[in-house]
Symmetry: D4
Amino acid sequence: MAHVLTTGGGKALLDASDVAILLLDHQSGLLQTVKDIEISELRANVASLARVAALMDIPVITTASVPDGPNGPLISEIEQFAPRATYVSRKGEISAWDNEDFVKAVRATGKKTLVIAGIWTSVCVMFPALDAVAAGFKVYAVMDASGDPSELTSRATLARFTQAGVVPTSISAMVCELQRTWNRPDAAKYAEIYALFSPHYAAAIESYQRAQQAAKA
Amino acid sequence: MAHVLTTGGGKALLDASDVAILLLDHQSGLLQTVKDIEISELRANVASLARVAALMDIPVITTASVPDGPNGPLISEIEQFAPRATYVSRKGEISAWDNEDFVKAVRATGKKTLVIAGIWTSVCVMFPALDAVAAGFKVYAVMDASGDPSELTSRATLARFTQAGVVPTSISAMVCELQRTWNRPDAAKYAEIYALFSPHYAAAIESYQRAQQAAKA
Amino acid sequence: MAHVLTTGGGKALLDASDVAILLLDHQSGLLQTVKDIEISELRANVASLARVAALMDIPVITTASVPDGPNGPLISEIEQFAPRATYVSRKGEISAWDNEDFVKAVRATGKKTLVIAGIWTSVCVMFPALDAVAAGFKVYAVMDASGDPSELTSRATLARFTQAGVVPTSISAMVCELQRTWNRPDAAKYAEIYALFSPHYAAAIESYQRAQQAAKA
Amino acid sequence: MAHVLTTGGGKALLDASDVAILLLDHQSGLLQTVKDIEISELRANVASLARVAALMDIPVITTASVPDGPNGPLISEIEQFAPRATYVSRKGEISAWDNEDFVKAVRATGKKTLVIAGIWTSVCVMFPALDAVAAGFKVYAVMDASGDPSELTSRATLARFTQAGVVPTSISAMVCELQRTWNRPDAAKYAEIYALFSPHYAAAIESYQRAQQAAKA
Amino acid sequence: MAHVLTTGGGKALLDASDVAILLLDHQSGLLQTVKDIEISELRANVASLARVAALMDIPVITTASVPDGPNGPLISEIEQFAPRATYVSRKGEISAWDNEDFVKAVRATGKKTLVIAGIWTSVCVMFPALDAVAAGFKVYAVMDASGDPSELTSRATLARFTQAGVVPTSISAMVCELQRTWNRPDAAKYAEIYALFSPHYAAAIESYQRAQQAAKA
Amino acid sequence: MAHVLTTGGGKALLDASDVAILLLDHQSGLLQTVKDIEISELRANVASLARVAALMDIPVITTASVPDGPNGPLISEIEQFAPRATYVSRKGEISAWDNEDFVKAVRATGKKTLVIAGIWTSVCVMFPALDAVAAGFKVYAVMDASGDPSELTSRATLARFTQAGVVPTSISAMVCELQRTWNRPDAAKYAEIYALFSPHYAAAIESYQRAQQAAKA
Amino acid sequence: MAHVLTTGGGKALLDASDVAILLLDHQSGLLQTVKDIEISELRANVASLARVAALMDIPVITTASVPDGPNGPLISEIEQFAPRATYVSRKGEISAWDNEDFVKAVRATGKKTLVIAGIWTSVCVMFPALDAVAAGFKVYAVMDASGDPSELTSRATLARFTQAGVVPTSISAMVCELQRTWNRPDAAKYAEIYALFSPHYAAAIESYQRAQQAAKA
Amino acid sequence: MAHVLTTGGGKALLDASDVAILLLDHQSGLLQTVKDIEISELRANVASLARVAALMDIPVITTASVPDGPNGPLISEIEQFAPRATYVSRKGEISAWDNEDFVKAVRATGKKTLVIAGIWTSVCVMFPALDAVAAGFKVYAVMDASGDPSELTSRATLARFTQAGVVPTSISAMVCELQRTWNRPDAAKYAEIYALFSPHYAAAIESYQRAQQAAKA
């Protein structure tokens, strides 16, 4: 479908064909420090982002900060659900935007809209997000596919994004903003993603299917 | 009453005669996923919005996303309290603003101020709100007549509205901003609406009436 | 159905045919002071208790503490949903068990199991509950059809009940303990009561009905 | 009034004529460490206890732990509202029950029911409470006229009281259990105490009085 | 002292000599509906604002919305602590800025900086604040001397203030921004105000005084 | 291993060889109403219980309440992880202990220690638990593999279990109380179960494995 | 000092000369899973327990569960503050009471009162506590020097302790119950321990010292 | 390293060589009043800021408000960890920017980027921050190395910073924004700082080191 419809729909939304997704430093050691979201929920949200990227052929770039140290390995969901993701290794830079290979990989996608998630939100998402805005990209920060080490940090991070022109968003909004319509052959795949990030949606689907069976029996 | 008074009162407030209310996807299945407000409170707030619209003859447009699927049916309060609401069925579009019939219905009202509520706030309210702003409308998002699937999402949504020029508001503010004065023949109807969205206000009315009876006895 | 089944089921549960329900001092002024439960939820729970009593012909006794003063009038749900309830007026006694007419009314029911709810839990439920236990009754305190003025009070109240042999319970447990089975002609009435005290159950019913309609269409 | 009425009312309640109130270590430095209740609320509750004691001529014994050190001075509300309270100075003992003068003062009252509040609940209330139970007293601990340094501590304290046969209670319950009836010449004084410990009750009184004035005007 | 010092200090702060304080609809019935702050704290904060106004001879204008109805009377702290406040009665207008006498009273002060507090924040503060900004005033909204009927409302209100150019502030900031220095003859009065709005500050003063006495003894 | 060791270890713990696990009414519709635990966590805990049962060959009996109605189907994790579980269908009885087939199935296991989980805790766990205690069984209630419709209900339920001699426990305690030692051939399976119910434990394992790889590299 | 004073003080308290302290499985990997207390607070509380043991020459026995695996090493505070603690290594047993060396070490102390803390409270504290009670020991569980993987688990654990006759306590109560009096040569050491577990107490000491200096200057 | 890299990295970040850190009024008495962060966490964050400043030779200026009064002395961590900090004494000014010596000291550093933390955030950070922005400085407010007397105040403060162009940030972001890379000789020092402000990071390091030892053993 076209990005902007004849109704004007989509004019203020992102263009899915112009998006690259950056998943930064979702590492097991850093996960332990996250305090603004349950980490099971965070992992499900990252998995959802990876799945929607795979489904829509959106380029994914991923990287880790010193994974041989206490920060630990990348969570396996990314490779599991977005197996075509490009992994870039860094040389100690905290901000992925300070790493040449990373920025090259981003530019190589040819996309001008960046959707970023990572741990910590205040650092691993914030620094690349700010520099990417400065470089002319349109940037979205997925707050709940990211994590910060305290509630107070999380709020300050959100305020700084808003002030700096980074668009704060969430997994629900991001999946839907990419999907746009249920009128597509692979609609059932999207429902699976909803069920992944929203346990109550999953239960609603289960109840729905049983109610239909009962009605037909 | 005039929208802007001689005092200057109302200059920065909405003009009730220029308002259309859009109630988007308040469906029973989606309700189960809402986590930033108690759903009994959310339903009461939607009912309040419907009632004030009916009372003031404000056009209401309502729609649902795939109501035959797990999202479920629209809550009945809307039809109950705003029986003249226009229902627009969609063809799978997630954003109502992507649907031609919906945007036509909005434009047919001739109103330039849109008051929007829905589930999820981050999606069903956000997308039409952003596109409506882009199309030149003045847009208000009623946060507590809407619902989001997590606390973190709810905060990101509020920040994105603020950043994008959508006016965030609440049921208390919206009812009062439409009402403006108690000096009107139907004032008692407004008190009933307050009692609907504020259980403590309801109790205050009950106590007041009994105290007056006791005084007069 | 028999109270105790051949399976032994019900042996440790209350006997619905031996129950009187006491609704004490649910007054609009006292409602304002309640801090351990949302008052809309509290009112719905009291209404549920009243409805199940009416449905099963369980005697209900109700009373108010100085309703002509700041405590305010009884909430109307009790009369609305349990119109056959007996109202006993008091002469200033804080504990209903200190009032002769009240204790007479309780004894007149001939029941030995008392289900009590009221505001404040720590006072209007606690005092009669303790004295009724001392008088040989089996006593249940419905925590969420009652209210206390602080969180800390609520916890102390629960501990004191437990220590003193009053059985702490909740609206969900009480309705089900009285109902015992869905295999009854008036089962649908019980579902309505569930929907009254559990907004999520109400939404589940709505979704279920729509899913069945969709399946049959 | 008699403690136990002909209805049996009061049989399981305390006997106001047999009560001494012990206010232990409510000191400004210790106040800073309290985390299970807002300290403004705690002070109001202690003041309420002092007032009801003064009103009913219940003996009050108060003491402080090393008030010349960081623990700081006793809060002034006790002397202000219960000017006839007996102050006992200690010689470093943490538990007031370890101090001879204190236990002598308690025994000198001739009362067998002790109502205790203090900071920390887990220490300054707990230790005397446990030893007083061991010495044959009936003991009530007023949880919200006391304070503990953490939420987890507060819960452990409540459980230990319950396990050990100390009756956990609250300011609402304690004032009412002493008062028993509104049918007394000084009833208005009790309403003032309610207004002191419950800000919402105070507002209910204010609204009530204005509603009566309006009705009579 | 001068408003802007030679250091540049005060350049971005309000000028105490140009301030009028508007206290709107702090009424006992509305208090019952407030859910984003404890009402005892809210009353103490309003009292603090009144006291600092009286201390510095800042004009205070106060008003109430339909005080003969369920909204109830103004809390007495305002008259008690700011006895020179001007009370303006309204004719049913919800926004004080819609009332001619009120706007006249504001303009009569000759001040261009308005500090506003009231209940509800989303309505009684918001509407005059927005219209006053439109009329060229500099406007501060004191969030914690105001109250809103829900947490979600409170957040939406704060975001709307920020978006609209109203400066959100708090009682701590407002008292200090007016006071500016402890180097003044009446410094002790300010400490009393701090003790009024911050119970922990009060305890710090008490401990401090006792420690000094102990040191000197 | 023996249940009681020579150290006396295990004397006060359950005997894994005498246990049957009852999983009652974990249905998708009821899941929507649970408010005392995140439902993703609840499902993981039920899955953990099912897995440990399968691993240790502990009999599992499962049942559902009116699964063709709004309560919805059993969650699939039970069959997935404990495929040898016995499913008993009921005839409308709310308490499984009221159903003959169910009690027969329980007795057929020959076990005298029952570990029960279900939705709602206050009903579907409570009623069978109380009746099973009355019938002479030793009963454990797994609080976090169960769910209740409100926080207040959850607390009342816990207190009632404690009062009635049902042992309240949790998934962490139950898995460990069955496992007893890491010194067993299938120890790795237990670690997987820990990772299932504790996301932070899962991350600790991931970090551990990577740290070991890094050390060996 | 004697354990029981002539006042009867101490009769219901533990006897410090009869105490052994058991610190079980405070390991860095397990720490990551704790959710009922901030881990910095938990570590400070364990350190406080270690310090008071060292100060009073109370025997400390410590152990770890599979410290070479993901559970990780014991936190260093124990050795740092209680350098004379006995470390017992286990052979995979989850409950330390299942390990012969451990129970021997406990019995070797000759003490009959056991003060236990550990991670998880529901497992590593619960199992030895229950078996020790069964073996005739008096057992205290220090809730806030221990940790559980969820809030719901923490509550179930506390209820199970209470039900089983284990005394639930906290670091504040335990330090004070051991200390009993400030009238001792090493009183200052106890103040340091209070400052360790209560940051607000630390600040009170700092303020006190400065106020005294200021007074003397 | 250069502040802006060839990738564009750092373009939107602060330049560590242009930074002065202002630590304002972290005093023991004021600490007692802080309610938006645990004070042990706040102290650790201030210590972290001091340590990173010392490590990177960033000038630190510190000051206190009336330290001989109830506000109390500066916390000792600042001098301990940043021994080269410049202390400026004030003459009663609440805002440090109102004090000539202070502003001179700031200007003497020659830095144009100010990183500010203090107690209260709404006052001691806000006022200098606003005036410094007005004077042309780039200003960062470290929210979690500062403290405010209530939750509502904390939110209003954050919103006011955002509105006024002060950059809200956190200790995690600030340390990383100064550090930029792990590829430096003193990297281990930074890990120590992370361990100081993030207890979970500290535990991750401990587990990591043990896992490596175990692997090598």
